[in-house]
Every structure is written in C-alpha cells, then in structure tokens.
C-alpha cells in the first residue's frame, strides 16, 4: 500500500515538471530572434504570403494565448505539425520512437553486462592485469567522444573488413521490413518469424549498440569499481577476513550485494547521458529515430518537432528514474519510501 502511494505521488510529480518544461520550451521558441514565418518562407516572400502564414501559425495572437492553445493541444495529444515533413509531430514521433528505444535498451543492457563484471573483477583483484585493463578501459571509454567511436567502427567493420552493413538506415534496402506490431524491427520480425528481416535489422543495430555500450559501460565500470573498493575496505569485510571466510565468498556474497546498491541509482542517472548518446549515434549511423528527427528539425528551425521531442524524452527519462528508484527500494530493505 505504501509502495502504491509512493508511485502515485511520484507520477503526480511528473506533471509539474512537464508543465515547467513545456513553458520553458515555449518561451525559448518564442524568444527566438527573427520571424518564424519569414524563416520558413525565405527572404523573397510577399507581404500577403507572410501575413497568411502568420495567421495560420497563430503568430498574430498574443504569446500567453498561444501558450494556452499549445497546452490545450498537448492535453489532446496534439503537438502541432512539422512543416519539414508535413506530418503531425505525434505521428512522426510514434513512427520513430521504437527505433530509438530499441537502440537505447539494447545498448544499456550490453553496457551493464560489460561494465559491472569489469568493475567487480577489477576491484576484487587489485593490481592485477584485470585491474589495470579495467581501469584503462574505464578511462578510454569515458574520454572517447562516442560519435568518433562510431565512425572508427564504421571504418573498420564496413570499409576495412566488409562485415558490417553500410551505416544507412535500420534494415537493408532489399529486405522488406517486418509486419508492424510494436514498431521495433527486432521484436516484430521475431514475433512474425521473419528471419531475413531479423538478421538484417540486427546487423544494422550491432555497430550503433556497441558504440553506445562501450562508452556507457565504461562509466558503469568506473562507478562499480569505486563502489566495490569502498565496500571491500570497510570493517565488516575485514572482520570476515579475520573469521577466515574464503575471499571468493567475501567478494561475491558479501561485498557485491552492498556495492551494487549505489550502482543501481547511478545507472538511472546514466540514462540521461544515454539519451544524448542516442541522438549522436542516430546521426552517425543515419538511423531514423527521434534523435535524428529532432536534430534535423532543429537545423531548419522547425520547432514543433523539437518541443515534442523534448517532452517525450523527459517523460521517458522520468519514468525510467522512477523505475530505478522502485528497483532500489526492492533491493534495499533499509529504504522506506518516505
């Protein structure tokens, strides 16, 4: 019961945050120097064309009225229309979100699978090869710009060895995409048993996922390492050593449990970083996700999609952090959701 209360309260907190964000976005986009209608039509537009477009875009109304209209639209799920693609922003985002989720989720899972073992193993065997190797990986991964890492992978595996597909799109041109169920090509092709589509879309995901996971995994490895070292230096571990419990049992049974607690929270924070990474990786590999959609819209001053993108990202981010906090309270009985 307490848990349900907590979840409801946290969910309710999302609404003011979104309101704040939508207001900030709205103010930012109305503050832009220059006339949006003029930007869209170019310098050769006639006065009448400008006037009618301004009316169509609602620019003749005062700002507060436009904000109220915009909010009203949001409540009905109307995020406006992108003039670059000509579609409703909501439809555009819906079509592109599964791709980005697919990329983000696969990368995060791989990053956790790389980062935690390296961190734990390195901390448990101090001054060994694993320790130094793990440290070197941690520093390299955190220092590397991931868009550059993606390019290096493309050069090696596409150009040099020729085993990866070209960095364009999420599936081969000649392969037809799987029947639309969830929007994720991996899931859809598995569910419909379309092996060809599955292999092709998986092949297009491998390099982007490795790029993101390499960098994210390095942060996770560093956090796990620090946390693990702290626990291993604590008194209860030294007492366990004095009792003659085997080092293996101490590391994997006693220390690991305690060391992973803070790591769970920190992984939640990594999600914010991952979202920025998804944007960059989608651009590098020309993947049709929400990140590239937002960047391409930004570059031509098409702001309705950007507003939609920011709100969507915020919702995803806040929900994931809520999930992480819940997971934390399940793992750690000391935490009472107060």
């Amino acid at each position: 019961m307490e848990l349900i209360n907590y979840v409801v309260r946290r969910l309710a907190l999302i609404i003011p945050t979104l309101l704040g964000a939508s207001l900030v976005m709205f103010v930012l986009t109305t503050l832009i120097p220059g006339d949006p209608a003029l930007m869209r039509l170019g310098n050769f537009a006639t006065a009448e064309q400008l006037k009618s477009l301004r009316e169509e875009m609602g620019l003749d109304k005062p700002p507060y009225e436009r904000y109220v209209l915009y909010l009203g639209g949001l409540v009905r799920g109307d995020m406006g229309r992108s003039w670059r693609t000509g579609n409703l922003v909501l439809d555009d985002l819906q079509a592109r979100l599964p791709m980005s989720l697919e990329l983000g989720v696969c990368s995060m899972l791989l990053a956790i699978a790389i980062g935690i073992p390296i961190g734990v193993w390195g901390a448990a065997s101090k001054d060994s090869v694993v320790d130094y190797g793990g440290k070197a990986y941690g520093i390299l991964g955190v220092a590397m710009p991931l868009f550059w890492g993606g390019l290096v992978l493309v050069y090696l595996f596409y150009f040099k060895f020729g085993i990866a597909p070209a960095p364009t799109g999420r599936i081969d041109m000649l392969v037809s995409p799987p029947t639309h169920l969830t929007g994720s090509y991996l899931l859809d092709s598995l569910l419909t048993g379309d092996l060809e589509a599955f292999l092709s879309s998986a092949a297009h995901l491998v390099l982007p996922v490795i790029t993101l996971a390499f960098v994210t995994g390095a942060s996770i490895a560093r956090m796990t390492y620090t946390s693990m070292r702290k626990v291993l230096a604590s008194q209860f571990i030294q007492v366990s050593h004095a009792y003659g419990i085997s080092p293996r049992a101490i590391v994997y049974k006693f220390a690991l449990k305690n060391a992973l607690m803070p790591v769970v929270t920190l992984i939640g924070l990594q999600v914010g970083f991952l979202i920025g990474g998804v944007v960059l990786v989608e651009v590098v590999f020309s993947l049709p996700g929400i990140g590239r959609y937002a960047v391409e819209s930004l570059l031509v001053n098409d702001f309705a999609p950007v507003q939609g993108f920011v709100l969507l990202v915020l919702v995803v981010y806040l929900l994931i952090n809520l999930l992480v906090d819940l997971l934390y309270s399940v793992l750690n009985p000391q935490v009472h959701n107060g």
């Binding site: 964000a21 930012l28 832009i32 220092a143 550059w148 914010g272 990474g277 990202v313 915020l314």
Partner: protein, 296 residues
C-alpha cells in the same frame, strides 16, 4: 591482502585542505602523487603548451588549403594528411586545442563561481528561499543535459556565447548542490561552532570560514567537469549547432571528415578524435588523482 594495501596507499597521500595546497610549491606538490595522476598533469600541461604556442608549432595555415592536394593521406610533409579543401590536419588539430580547452575551462570556471554563490547564498538564507532555489536546481539537474544544451544552442543561433551559456546551465546546479551540502557538513564542525561562539557575523562565517573549507571537493569535481565540457562542445559542434566551420574545432573536423569514412579516408576524422581523447583523458586522470587524495 588487497584491502590492507589500499589503506596504506591512501594514507601515504596526505589529505590537504586546498589552501595549503596552493601555498606549497605547486609544481612539486602536483607531481608528488601517483603515476597516473602525474601522467594526467603532464597531458594537461602538454595541451596548454600546444594551445599557447599553436602559431609557432603548426607548420601550415589552419584555414588556407592547397586544393591540388585535397584529401591526401598522411605523408612526411603532412603527417596527419589533408582534408577536403587541402588543409593540413596536423595544423588544424594544433589550433583546435585552443577552442575546446578555452571553452571548457571558461564554462567550468564560470559555473563554479555562479554555482558556488547560488549554493552558499541558498544555504545561508535557509528556510523557504533555500527550498525554492534548490527545487529549481533539481529541476535543471533532472533534464538530460545534452538535449537541453542542444535545444538551447539551436534556438538561440549557434555562437560562442550561447554555447557557453548552454553548457553552464548544466554545471551550475551541480556546484550549487555540492557547495550547499559541503557547507552543511562544515557548519557543525568545531571551528565553525567556535567562530560563532566568538561572535563572528553570519556572512563572515559563511564566506570566510565555511566556503574556503568546502572548496576542495569542488576543485576535484571541476577537472571531471572540464572533460565533460570538452566532449559536449565537440558533440554539439559535430551536430552542427556548436562552433561553425571553417573554425578548426575538433568536433567540426570530425563532422567534416565523416562522409569520407565510408570511402576509407579515415585520417580526416581520426586525428581530431584522438586529440579529443588525449585531452579528456588528461583531465580525467587529474580528477581521479585529486579525488583519491582528498578522500578521507
């Protein structure tokens, strides 16, 4: 035993308050830590040197190219090769150190000052104001930072100023929270209580006693922040919303070279990226060394 070793290692490096760190011969102190830390300091000094001496180190002009040699690979005359306009990449990498380094240091420096002020004022005021200020800071922290910077820069036209403001928005709340937390820890320590007991004013207590003693974790955090700021600057420039071509900035150079990767001309993007790694790694190593030193 692993744990015993680590304790002695930590003990060998005395945890010094930041004031004493400055008073002793700084170079000697800086080099007294462990090897990785020393390496980090060396790398950082290397880049500072390169940035200062760029016009004398670089063999060619950073913006004028030889069209006849365009897209040429690495050779003896052009160690890092040439880009699509025939500009020498080594020269551009050398000049590029100025942009990312200056931007990152300025951004972090400004955020440090502003964030510290906000944090200490908030902590000093206490009560409702404190609550309000910190809620706003939390809200800013809750935003995925790269996306925030991306939108901000794009909306206000990419320029050096907007880029720096956008990056600062991310770091200011971080410092404000850190400094406020530190001051709450320091406030109950004996020296602070003693200062209050002899009747020093609140303002004096905060700015003369608490603040200087809360600074050392901020300095540690700053080196890590500089490496993030470098990567974010390059990332935004790569997307086309940061520094604009033909400026020889590393992110811009990687972006300009990226179409040639699929045809095997790797050097245009590769070398600026390596430079970026070397610069951020330097700051990360320094940060790691400092935090190992100050950990009590």
């Amino acid at each position: 035993m692993a744990t015993a070793q680590s304790t002695t290692q930590v003990l060998r490096l005395p945890a010094l308050p930041i004031e004493r760190l400055w008073k002793r011969a700084p170079v000697k102190r800086a080099l007294a830590g462990n090897t990785l830390y020393r390496l980090g300091v060396l790398i950082t000094l290397f880049w500072v040197g390169v940035a200062l001496l760029a016009p004398w180190l670089a063999p060619y002009s950073p913006t004028q190219g030889e069209a006849a040699l365009a897209q040429g690979g690495p050779s003896l005359a052009h160690l890092f090769g040439l880009d699509k306009y025939g500009r020498d990449i080594l020269t551009r990498v050398v000049y590029g150190s100025r942009y990312d380094l200056c931007i990152a240091v300025t951004v972090v420096g400004c955020s440090l000052v502003v964030g510290t002020l906000i944090g200490s004022i908030s902590g000093f005021l206490g009560g409702k104001m404190d609550n309000l200020i910190m809620r706003v800071m939390d809200m800013l922290l809750a935003f995925p930072s790269f996306v925030l910077a991306l939108v901000f820069v794009a909306v206000f036209r990419p320029s050096l100023m907007t880029l720096m403001i956008a990056l600062s928005i991310r770091f200011i709340p971080m410092y404000a929270r850190l400094v406020r937390g530190e001051m709450f820890v320091e406030r109950v320590k004996e020296y602070a209580v003693a200062a209050q007991a002899i009747g020093s004013a609140q303002v004096r207590l905060v700015f003369r006693h608490l603040l200087p003693n809360s600074l050392s974790p901020l300095i540690t955090q700053s080196t890590t922040n500089i490496s993030w700021a470098v990567l974010n600057t390059a990332g935004l420039s790569f997307l086309g919303v940061g520094i604009q071509p033909p400026t020889p900035e590393w992110g811009v150079m990687i972006s300009e070279g990226s179409p040639y990767i699929v045809s095997g001309q790797w050097w245009m993007s590769f070398f600026p990226g390596m430079a970026l790694i070397l610069m951020t790694a330097g700051f990360i190593l320094v940060g790691d060394g400092l935090s190992a030193r100050t950990e009590r």
